[in-house]
């Protein structure tokens, strides 16, 4: 049974890490969402969306990003969200949760000593949170592997 999957990440390292997870959703009905339109060249022949970025440093952009992400969710109607962060991935998981969409938060490999800020919040929203560092695993945050 193929699933409708939304794989979503901010730009830079978040997006590059997401792309390294691509075999996970091969064969499923995947859509990709990120912030940089030029990233389209890397995703192949799948639906591709962009949204206006936001982080805690520019929190006043939350409404614009949330609006863009809500539109993407309405178009994709995902059954599963996979995100490598940052805050926009958490917004997507939060908006989709009431509609029965499950979500996986893959905390960035950049967070090697503490979970990211959004990763800490993700525990309240996402169905599963994983860290890429074995020494950060807890009973709730699992370690499944890393992108490197």
């Amino acid at each position: 049974m193929t699933k409708r999957v939304l794989a979503i990440a901010s730009g830079g390292g978040h997006f590059i890490q997401l792309m390294r997870l691509s075999p996970a959703w091969a064969g499923h009905q995947v859509s990709i969402a990120t912030v940089d339109p030029s990233s389209r060249a890397l995703v192949g022949e799948v639906p591709f969306f962009t949204f206006r970025d936001v982080s805690r440093a520019d929190w006043w952009n939350i409404p614009a990003a949330t609006l863009d992400i809500a539109r993407i969710l309405a178009a994709v109607r995902p059954q599963v969200i996979i995100t490598t962060g940052a805050l926009p991935g958490l917004i997507a998981a939060t908006l989709a949760k009431p509609f029965g969409c499950k979500s996986l938060w893959v905390d960035s490999i950049a967070n090697s000593e503490v979970l990211s800020g959004s990763g800490g919040q993700a525990g309240r929203v996402c169905s599963q949170v994983v860290t890429q560092w074995p020494h950060l695993a807890t009973d709730r945050v699992e370690h499944w592997g890393s992108v490197l």
């Binding site: 730009g11 996970a24 959703w25 030029s38 960035s108 090697s112």
Partner: protein, 160 residues
């Protein structure tokens, strides 16, 4: 050619300025800097605000030395291209990032072969010259994708 990238999310003028000074001292070596949101505009090196992602990857693959902040996008791009990378971590105390996680990245990932971490701008400039003369080991080649055991667990999550 030396390609320099400071990352796209926040300015990092300390790195841009240091490599522009290096370019002034080494006029025979072309230097191109992707300065992102920085305020300092290089006077000696070529510069660009932001390259399209395929062009950025082509620069990393084509340069003799890649110099960057200590961000995972830069590190993974260097490893995938098999290029040595010289990094200057962003510091929270200098308002270069929200946290000091780039120092943690330097400590936990910067130890891999082909990855080099500078302590400060003087160390950065000295090591850029040294690495250009002898780049040492290239990063070990890796697959285009994460460990299959990791992606298999994510697939199981999707299908459960």
């Amino acid at each position: 050619m030396i390609f320099v990238s400071v990352g796209s999310m926040m300015p990092f003028d300390r790195l841009t300025r240091a490599m522009d000074e290096w370019a002034a001292a080494n006029p025979a070596i072309p230097v191109e800097i992707q300065i992102g949101k920085g305020a300092y505009e290089p006077r000696h090196a070529r510069w660009v605000r932001k390259l399209a992602l395929p062009d950025y990857q082509a620069r990393v693959a084509g340069c003799a030395l890649f110099v960057a902040h200590c961000g995972m996008g830069s590190i993974i791009s260097a490893i995938e291209a098999g290029k040595p990378i010289l990094m200057l971590p962003r510091l929270e105390a200098m308002a270069e990032h929200n946290t000091d996680h780039q120092l943690a990245t330097a400590k936990h990932i910067g130890i891999r072969p082909g990855l080099h971490v500078a302590a400060d701008v003087d160390d950065l400039k000295a090591r850029a010259s040294a690495l250009l003369a002898d780049s040492g080991l290239a990063p070990a080649p890796i697959s285009r994708f994460a460990d299959p055991a990791f992606t298999a667990r994510i697939r199981a999550f999707i299908e459960s």
